[in-house]
Symmetry: C2
């Protein structure tokens, strides 16, 4: 029995006493049907249903007069729905005329709405049909079968939504241009988006706008309530009034007074709050409680004690609770309320030895405690076991966009799904299940992570902790949903989205500058450019297909723009680094990069213009955030690249430079510096490279005039024209002596001589077979050589762990973090290391050290925060634990004692979120041979990404990635 939606005219039948919001949604679903199939589905209302015709019937239990009839005709058990949150039954049934009908019954208003939008989903209509022009495939008909029948589960998280924030200049300009402001005509699209994503919750825009005044009037709030959107004001705007609103109506000659201070202006503030509760209390809200200072600042002065602040806040909340009783309901438990544990409020919540925190205060029962990440996607404190199930529960305010220290990120999406999965999973498992809200900035660039966030909150069982592949699977599914009909491109699009979000999360676009990726060290600039070039090429290739299809605009917004704009920015910053690096060596090749920088600047404008022209100008005004070279937390004084132009020497001049380190020489008699190549000491490196650049006037002949017999050079003489560069690739031949050696060749170019030293190791077959060989320089190179880029990196994917999913233990997370993999203890709230070490599974890895010496071991961990007041994200480490036993374990903290996740005053935190990692180093004297390193997280939330082992005698060379490429396109 199939229900076929096609060109034939049918109806969507509702009870005439149905929620008006459901009626409006039914009309939108009818529109979706028309869009896909050209079928004309009128929405009709009725008092009763006597016979089921070949229509769609929808009703809300306990509201619609036809609900019971439908339940009975469709043979749906009322008990599947009654008393449940946001559930719906969806069933294809035989109509009385023998045809088939589709019956949807919701447990409540949003249940029915989700059920109706489930039709759209089956039609292939994306939630992003309006907000990203994802036009569905047109079809003659869509068949809904009995296999589609379902009774939905209650959503995993109670309130699920987002916060439009930092909306200037992008979202603000756009809505003023197209909707005359933050009006209901614009918000209707936002509400629809939320509902299509099965969300229910919104914090509206709040900078220079008032949700409850701008509709015009109350129209925004009324429409939200009608459509079933639960509203809150943001964390520092209590009692349903906006911070902007205060500025509008406060005044010495008003009933509100002027001071935003409950000690000095108690009555005025009570009047103000009462007004808000009276006005908006009739709608569905989560009421923001408490009080912070004006515009996100602390409310009491510096001289106030912790106890003063706690008492003040208790007073405020008690008064607010009473006001709610007075204006909304005597039954406080029926009024959803929340208190944001944000910034300084955190200490009032936790208290200290001098003052008991709010956390133990019974008046807070029933109020959802809203926690917050560190604004960069990492949890701060999470509920401890004893408070996990507190009355009122927990909320989380998460960020995909942030306007603040250390550096804002507000342009294109820079969040990788794996991070959301890992961190929101940590929150959920810790009991944060009442509110999930995410700051999406201007909304537009966050289509992908917002979709995931909403689906994760709606169905945590499916996408959450239990499935370590969830992020990848979600991406696959999401691409399929947005780009239906373009199956040939799915894999490429998926890779493009994964890559650009990886690149942007390794270093957020705004925080990029010319000094991030080292121009030569570790080859990391080259490596990142390869990713960028390949991504842009692929995006352009796909564009050739998409530009001829109805998905042209969706592809531009969801793929082409974010990929190309992100990669173009990356290229520009790396080119600038190269330009400055080469210019500092007086090399005219700097000027080639100068030209490329300018091309990138033009391309950046061109891409933005393309966005404005999308969908016939529908997006004009959006995506206008500054995104280059932030030097402060915000875009003030942001620096575009400064192009350095080199004037070549008027004399013959050659620059002989290492391709992979900073060594260079111009080979003059007195300033000759030996240039040292070290790559051939690593078993992974097959060759080294030297550049010879003509940096002067006239062509230059060069010739190798001396060379050790075990060295092979790709060429030994040549002529370099003005402005050109020759390359010499250096390898070894079978005359290479045993062990580690230093060799040399000498290049004569014009009247200059350059000495190039080559360090190499003749790896035996046994050594070559060693997987984890720590590369070292030949001995006695110091002080001739002071730093080294030789090191062994062992990424988490190579760790040995016992990952039986049925047991507590470690899971390797693929495609996570800066280096593409990580390992984490599961269940995520466990505290393995606090028990006896010998009992516990360890993360282990083995490596081989080719000679005795002191080695530095660096643990690279994700930039997470301590999740409880006594955590320092500790780990236990042991070298060769089989020899040393339990006593060999040493406890290290991966953050310092004074570490304060999310606090702008903590440089360690700030560096961590910018660099997207923490590093913890320790040293060990090691004998030649194999060693086992065991690592064991102690505190919950430690995520280990990489272990680096290197000769401690040499400084580490500067770099951002520091080692071999970790991913490719």
């Amino acid at each position: 029995m199939d229900f076929i939606i096609g060109k034939s005219s049918r109806q969507i039948v509702l009870g005439n006493d149905e929620w008006s919001g459901v009626k409006k949604i039914a009309a939108k679903v009818a529109g979706d049907i028309k869009l896909v199939t050209a079928g004309d589905y009128a929405v009709t209302e009725t008092g009763t249903v006597s016979e089921l015709a070949a229509n769609i019937y929808a009703a809300t239990l306990g509201k619609s007069s036809i609900a019971d009839t439908l339940l009975s005709k469709a043979e749906i058990s009322a008990s599947d729905l009654a008393g449940k949150r946001e559930c719906y039954a969806f069933k294809v049934v035989k109509a009385d005329n023998g045809e088939s009908a589709l019956v949807i019954v919701g447990s409540d208003k949003r249940g029915t709405i989700y059920g109706l939008f489930h039709v759209s989903e089956l039609l292939g209509v994306s939630p992003w049909v309006y907000f990203a022009d994802v036009l569905p495939q047109e079809k003659d008909s869509v068949v809904i079968t009995e296999a589609d029948n379902l009774v939905s589960k209650e959503p995993s998280v109670k309130y699920r939504g987002f916060f439009i924030n930092d909306e200037w200049p992008s979202f603000g300009n756009w809505t003023f241009k197209h909707f005359g402001g933050f009006t209901a005509s614009m918000y209707e699209h936002v509400f629809e988006l939320i509902l299509r994503m099965k969300g229910n919750y919104l914090w509206p825009a709040m900078w220079t706008s008032n949700f409850s005044l701008d509709g015009p009037g109350l129209a925004n709030a009324e429409l939200a309530d009608e459509l079933g959107i639960v509203m809150s004001n943001s964390h520092h705007e209590p009692c349903l009034r906006h911070s902007e609103e205060w500025d509008l109506i406060k005044g010495d000659d008003t009933e509100y007074g002027s001071a935003w201070n409950f000690s000095k202006n108690r009555e005025g503030l009570i009047n103000y709050w009462r007004g808000g509760l009276k006005r908006n209390g009739k709608f569905e809200n989560v009421v923001t409680m408490g009080m912070r200072g004006e515009r996100d600042s602390e409310v009491l002065g510096r001289e106030a004690t912790l106890q003063d602040n706690i008492d003040y806040l208790k007073d405020v909340i008690t008064v607010q609770n009473n006001l709610i009783k007075e204006t909304i309901s005597e039954d406080l438990t029926s009024v959803p309320r929340m208190l944001a544990i944000y910034k300084e409020v955190e200490q009032y919540f936790y208290g200290d030895e001098t003052a008991e925190g709010l956390r133990y205060w019974s008046e807070l029962d029933g109020i959802t405690c809203m926690l917050c990440d560190d604004n960069f996607g990492n949890m701060r404190k999470l509920p401890e076991e004893f408070e996990k199930n507190r009355k009122g529960g927990w909320g989380m305010y998460y960020h995909f966009d942030y306007h603040g220290d250390p550096i804002s990120y507000e342009w294109v999406n820079s969040t990788h799904l794996s991070k959301v999965w890992e961190q929101m999973g940590q929150a959920y498992e810790s009991g944060v299940r009442d509110i999930w809200i995410v700051n999406v900035g201007d909304l537009k660039p966050q289509e992908l992570p917002l979709s995931f966030f909403m689906d994760l909150a709606y169905d945590f069982d499916k996408w959450g902790t239990s499935n370590t592949e969830a992020a990848a699977e979600y991406l696959t599914a999401w691409v399929k949903r947005q780009f239906a009909g373009q199956e040939d491109s799915f894999a490429d699009i998926e890779a493009l989205l994964d890559n650009y979000t990886y690149v942007n999360s390794v270093r957020r676009p705004e925080a990029l500058n010319d000094r991030i990726y080292h121009p030569v060290n570790y080859g990391e600039a080259d490596y990142m450019l390869q990713i960028a070039d390949a991504s842009v090429d692929k995006a352009k290739e796909l564009w050739e297909t998409f530009k001829e299809t109805p998905l042209k605009d969706a592809f531009y917004q969801l793929v082409y723009f974010p990929v190309c704009a992100s990669m173009n920015l990356l290229q520009m910053q790396i080119y600038t680094g190269m330009n400055h690096y080469l210019a500092a060596q007086g090399r005219p090749s700097a000027n080639v990069y100068g030209t490329m920088i300018n091309e990138c600047m033009d391309r950046d404008l061109e891409l933005q213009k393309g966005y404005y022209e999308c969908a016939d100008g529908k997006w004009d005004g959006i995506m206008g955030s500054e995104h280059m070279g932030f030097v402060h937390w915000n875009d003030e004084e942001a620096r575009y690249p400064v192009v350095h132009t080199v004037i070549p020497s008027r004399r013959p001049r050659v620059v002989v430079a290492c391709a992979n380190n900073e060594g260079y020489t111009m080979g003059g008699d007195w300033t000759r510096r030996p240039v040292v190549l070290t790559g051939l000491c690593s078993p992974n490196s097959l060759f080294e490279k030297i550049e010879l650049e003509n940096a002067g006037t006239g062509e230059i002949n060069w010739k190798v005039i001396q060379c050790d017999e075990w060295l092979e050079l790709s060429s030994t003489e040549g002529t370099i024209a003005e402005g050109y560069t020759d390359f010499v690739v250096v390898t070894t031949n079978d005359k290479l002596p045993e062990g580690s050696v230093i060799g040399k060749f000498v290049i004569q170019a014009a009247m200059y001589k350059a000495e190039v030293y080559v360090c190499a190791r003749n790896f035996t077959d046994e050594e070559m077979a060693i997987d984890h060989f720590v590369p070292v320089l030949p001995e006695n190179l110091m002080p001739f050589v002071k730093d080294s880029d030789l090191e062994l990196s062992i990424d988490a994917r190579e760790f040995e762990v016992d990952d039986d999913p049925s047991e507590p233990g470690y899971r390797i997370l693929d495609n996570y973090g800066k280096y593409g993999s990580a390992v984490k203890a599961f269940p995520v709230t466990c505290e393995f290391g606090k028990e006896d070490t010998e009992e516990l599974p360890c993360i282990t890895t083995s490596f081989y050290v080719p000679r005795d010496g002191k080695y530095e071991i660096i643990l690279v961990t994700a930039p997470c925060n301590a999740l409880s007041t006594d955590s320092l994200l500790r780990v236990k480490v042991a070298m060769d634990p089989e020899d040393t036993g339990d006593a060999g374990f040493e406890t290290l903290q991966t953050v310092q004692d004074d570490y304060q996740g999310g606090e702008r005053s903590c440089p360690e935190w700030a560096r961590g979120v910018l660099d997207n990692q923490h590093e913890t180093a320790f040293a060990r004297e090691l004998k030649e041979g194999w060693h086992d390193l065991a690592v064991l997280p102690v505190d919950p939330g430690v995520v280990i990404e990489r272990i680096v082992i290197r000769d401690a005698a040499y400084d580490r060379r500067p770099g951002y990635l520091h080692n071999s490429p970790v991913r490719g396109l």
Copy 2:
């Protein structure tokens, strides 16, 4: 009775047994006569003179058979000449036919030659007739009168000459191009130049050339001897052989062996030296004695003790003396010899407590000890009183050009005459009177200082210590001599030469870079640009005159090129500093400077090309030394400017910047930095200035929205077009409160606000009348303001000294040093401060301090060196000595204990010669009111240029000149 040289044909009559060199010079004088008057003067020889005709007669006493006749006919007393060095009698006498004759009798060969060239001098022929194309004025006749009669004095210094050195690429290329190498045909011009300047001595070029082999063969040495030029080899080439020569003939299978080591190859070196002495001993030489390592290095290894080295050198010198006895003369005292006390030889000369130095060794008697400056024009050690008159005397090896640490100077002249006067005067007064030799590099750019050096050596009585105005007077005379006929331009040329040599000596061209003159602090970049612009304008204006005259080429070489090329380089480096400074602030005006940098680069080439084209290509190849941005001691890796290009912001952006300090703001809400103007706290500063640069897109309106009533702004609103800058001049009006105050105005530009704080002082009439007022900031500005450019500089010209020239005391030297004046104790060898202070005259200055506090006093002294082993260039200072008496004097050393003048290993010395000053700071707590500072040099050679007094509470702002303009064009 006049002798008229004109068109009529006359003769220059010589004895037929006259020195052949005199005959050759006579022919050159005849050529000069022809050049000036077109008169045809044949050189004729005769055995006797029976009658004096209307001719020029010349003879050398004791050589020419006609000398006695001439003495008697001209009534010249033989005793005026007999036994004297290089003297001549010059007399217009009545000829036997009633006309007049000119009689010249020399006491020796060079005496006669100088006498003959004295004719040329009177004709107006410059010594630079060949080497700078200084063509004499053509005249119908030149009248020599009895007033010209003279008997010349013996020259002040015995051997006076120069060293052609560091001759590649410039001089070397030129002579190969035009003379096929370092041949006699070229050297003849050099010898002639020396003789015309009344010099007698030469160290020939020595890098890849051999004076005694290149003539070809001995031709150079033979010609030198014939013309009366005394030759030496340079300081490290003993026994008349060149260092290059050793490389040519050494060898294991030769009689010379291969080792340049007297311990290992005694016989070989003896053979080598004997060969040189035999070959060249017949000519007039000063034989270089001793031995250094090959190519200017130390001869013994590191393990050798001081005594080892002294013994080694004694052995070498003893052997060399014996070889001279064997090959040249048993009477060693008749053979001029010299030992260079250069670099490491200095310690062998002075010895220490473990080893007696050579200075006390009798075998050295009769050998001239050749001292050396620090290669940067400052004396190192000078003879002490007890050794002033040692047998053999003293020589000085001075530098106008240097190829070595810390940074070479080899391009245009960078020596100011006042320095030569002061330092060579110090040497002469200390007894250095036997040899003066100066390194002139490529010779060509050193026409002016070389002329002065030679004349100073020839007639110290006239130009030396007794005349503090000598340098200025010399410049006047020199300009007059080179540019005769262009009287209207004399003053301008003099100013141009004085200015460019001042600018080049304040910082030598090669040592200039974009970080020397601070782009804004102290207004010093602007100030230097004003000098440069005015100089270039004036030079161009004069060129319009000279280009139509025969002096065109001389003007180009002596004035136009060095002025314009120096100033162009200065402009280029300052523009680069501005370009980088503005670019770092994101200001598009940087790009204007970028264009100007490129124009300067082009101009540099154009000026060099002009030089090559001078005199029909005669100078092609010369003046080719690298001269930009040295980063090492030599030109390797020298950096041309790197042009920074700013891309304007795509948003509205305004940069509000102080014109005279580094403060700037873009006025964003969060990054707003107050900008602080401090100039109005100084009684000398009448206004301050703010720049408002449009650094973004679209025009920007600005307006002053708040301003203290006592501030006057030149404008209070405006509109700045893209890429333009507005200026606001800030002054005070009569509402300015009393005392020191801080005011403020606020500029609103687009959405930005800039707060500008203005510190000012309302100077009372009494305060305005105070000459030396120490400007201070209002109190309580810290930490808001951390550094200050406010300071009082009192230049030496303002010091109070007792300068009665008849008494020991202080002389103010005008137009000396970095700030244009200095004070020095005279006689220059006196040691005032070693006696009781109360007895002695002091240098004093008074200043006024407006409030109690700690003040820093900085003594700025010339970058001189300690002149004896126990000197630390000490001074005594006393604050308010009338109150404190003798006890108030404190002794300060102006150089550190480990200071080593001229040693590359001494950074204090290196910084001093680059920065052209030493600074010595001390602090005093001072009460409000007047204070007297007394300063008293203790060690000889201290030259005080400036005293700076400043509030010690603030750091000093970086700068190179640090304070108000000291000179103008």
